[in-house]
């Protein structure tokens, strides 16, 4: 019997199963244990959007609250990872990285190299990303390009509940620091997710849909947008292949290049700001490695070079949608004739 659970539940289940399996796994974050023991609360808050809810009671002493001191507690998670624990720390919104980035990019990411290969830092930093919740400029960013830029980090960005569970289990078992980017608009989306534990390897893209006319590479929530666009395009006789990299670092370049070799066209969809984005990263990689296969200019569909606006009237224009993606695909297909 297929069982459908949400992205939020899938992450929670992955955490629970890994905590069960491995006593070294601990969870920490603001309000993760908040409210425990209070009159109306059965367990604890489980973080601001409740992703870790239920774990506090099940794993006494292993779900920790933190003060609003991201440098200290993200750094503590990193330090603890060098000392035999496998912490999963929650940086509530990815936008808050600016108060603790040093610990992530100069400490965790660089230990192994700086120390000549003699450090292992198995920390997972869970964080919410993405626009669409009317949360405005400081709670809606992508910032995945910034983390992807940094050698020593791995970056996972699941686009659905099934991947979320498998990638989280891989992340926890991974010996390198992982940024686990949960798209906040996906928390309530459901998919079939096996009860039993499973892993999805990092660096293996998912071919979400096969097609021969154009390759669409999309990240996170944009995978669903691309699927909508593909449905639409199929109506016009255009068969789009959709690739979800699932992890942006490592990036499965082989799958992308192979696809472009078949389709001859590339559209990259990345909701982040455009400059030095994943769209550029993937677009340039293809323009360097598969130029001979390209029959049309690569096309990048991203957010604009602006902060994320608050008003829904503007935010909906900020975020790439199916129409914009379809438009880019049509430009690519129509190119040169």
């Amino acid at each position: 019997m297929a069982r459908s659970i949400t992205y939020r539940e899938a992450i929670n289940e992955a955490l629970e199963q890994e905590m069960e399996r491995d006593p070294r796994v601990i969870v920490m974050g603001e309000d993760n244990a908040g409210g425990e023991g209070s009159p109306g609360e059965m367990d604890a808050w489980g973080g601001v959007l409740g992703v870790t809810k239920g774990l506090y009671g099940k794993f006494p002493g292993r779900v920790m609250d933190t003060p609003i001191s991201e440098s200290a507690f993200i750094g503590a998670a990193i330090g603890a990872a060098t000392g035999g624990l496998r912490p999963v720390a929650e940086l509530m919104f990815i936008d808050f990285m600016g108060v603790c980035f040093d610990q992530i990019f100069n400490q965790a990411a660089k230990f192994r190299y700086m120390f000549g290969g003699k450090a292992v830092t198995p920390v997972v930093i869970r964080t919410m990303w993405g626009a669409g919740l009317r949360a405005a400029a400081q709670h809606s960013q992508s910032l995945l390009p910034v983390f992807t830029h940094i050698p020593g980090l791995k970056v996972a960005a699941p686009s659905n509940a099934y991947d979320a569970k498998g990638l989280m289990i891989s992340a926890i078992r991974d010996d390198d620091p992982v940024i686990f980017a949960e798209h906040k608009l996906l928390y309530d989306t459901a998919a079939e997710v096996p009860q039993e534990s499973y892993t999805i390897p990092f660096g293996e893209a998912n071919i979400v849909r096969e097609g021969s006319d154009v390759t669409i590479v999309a990240i996170g929530r944009m995978v669903g947008m691309a699927a909508q666009a593909a449905d639409e395009l199929a109506g016009s006789g255009i068969q789009a292949e959709i690739i979800d990299p699932r992890t942006t670092s490592p990036l499965d370049t082989d799958t992308i290049l192979e696809s472009v070799e078949n389709t001859g066209r590339l559209v990259v969809v990345d909701e982040s700001n455009p400059r030095c984005s994943l769209a550029c990263d993937i677009g340039a990689m293809v323009a360097q490695e598969a130029f001979g296969s390209l029959r049309a200019p690569i096309r990048m569909v991203t957010g604009p070079h602006t902060p994320v606006p608050f008003s829904d009237a503007l935010e909906d224009l900020f975020i790439p949608d199916a129409a914009k993606i379809a438009g880019a695909v049509k430009k690519a297909v129509d190119y040169g004739g």
Binding site: G34, I68, A313
Partner: protein, 331 residues
């Protein structure tokens, strides 16, 4: 509609000043109660954090400020905005994401600002404001304007490195800055008795070489007095002060919060400690104002907020051309 409240008053607190203080607090309360209701109705998008219960802090501090002075606020910023004189109609429209909003609908509740009023913005980043306030205080000092700058921040923010660094910086630069720690007992669900390692946030003042005071945040007069001293000292070149204001927030952390983590402290506070009630009792018993005068303010403010909501709802959303503007002065 012009919704600006007067912000400059004498420190003596004659009847006019008292009425102004009451009107400020009453406006904040009415604003927040109404936003709470409208949010529940589903009309208001995003994250909204209400200031109800904490009015005496914004009002008590900002009554000492004038056009030379600046404040930085937090995610829970409506009260600070109103007390510093930001147009209330614009604020309401902003919360609805309308083109007529303080920030043309681009900022929302967490980013309401009006630099022309010295209001540097609500802030979505906990601890985002204190460094900025050091800068405003520095500017005032360099310009010799006599201005001061005030950072409002929460108990949770008192553990943020940016806040702690700012206390030290303000002290060694001897800045005309005032740090107002609004201790409402919680950061989201996390109790300040747990998250702050000292008994009181004010204890941290000594670690950064400045005076620290604790005041009952339900008592407008207590806040007003402490702030008056701090502002006077700052204006005279005496450097920064840390003021801890203790009270309770009346609503959840944000709208939608079920608040299972706390008991009946709000009912108790609303009944027995409320800043508006206490203010009323004191000024009427002392014969400074009459109940009729205060009731008049209540009525006036209720109409004023109602009008703000009506206008906000009717206002247009920002047009598509607004997406790309206002990123740079020139690019």
């Amino acid at each position: 509609m012009t919704g600006t409240l007067p912000t400059t008053v004498t420190q003596e607190l004659g009847p006019d000043a008292l009425l102004t203080a009451y009107r400020t607090m009453r406006t904040v309360r009415e604003f927040e109660e109404r936003v709470h209701k409208e949010f529940a109705g589903g009309d208001i998008p995003g994250f909204v954090h209400l200031y109800a219960g904490e009015e005496a802090s914004a009002a008590g501090v900002c009554m000492h400020l004038d056009d030379r002075d600046a404040i930085a606020s937090t995610h829970r910023g409506h009260g600070h905005c109103i007390a510093k004189g930001v147009d209330v109609g614009g604020m309401m429209a902003e919360i609805y994401g309308k083109a007529t909003g303080s920030c043309k609908g681009k900022g929302g509740s967490m980013h309401i600002a009006d630099l022309s009023k010295g209001m540097l913005g609500a802030n979505g980043i906990v601890g985002g404001g204190p460094p900025l306030i050091c800068g405003r205080a520095l500017a005032a000092k360099q310009q010799g304007s006599g201005g001061v700058a005030v950072a409002f921040f929460g108990d949770g923010a008192s553990n943020q490195g940016t806040t702690l660094e700012s206390l030290n910086l303000a002290s060694i630069w001897n800045l005309p800055a005032i740090f107002v720690a609004e201790n409402n007992g919680y950061a989201e669900t996390t109790s300040s008795t747990w998250s702050v390692a000292t008994d009181d946030i004010a204890d941290r003042a000594a670690a950064f070489g400045m005076p620290g005071v604790i005041v009952d945040g339900f008592d407008f007069f207590a806040v007003h007095e402490a702030a008056g001293e701090a502002v006077a000292r700052a204006r005279e070149g005496g450097g920064p002060t840390l003021i801890e204001v203790k009270f309770t927030r009346y609503f959840g952390h944000f709208e939608g919060d079920q608040q299972l983590y706390r008991g009946d402290e709000v009912a108790h506070a609303r009944e027995n400690l409320d800043c508006l009630k206490r203010f009323r009792t004191r000024v009427t018993e002392a014969g400074q104002l009459t109940n009729e005068q205060l009731d008049g303010v209540d009525t006036e403010v209720a109409e004023f907020i109602d009008q703000a909501v009506t206008e906000a709802k009717a206002a247009p959303k920002p047009g598509p051309d607004q997406l790309l503007t206002d990123v740079y002065v020139a690019y």
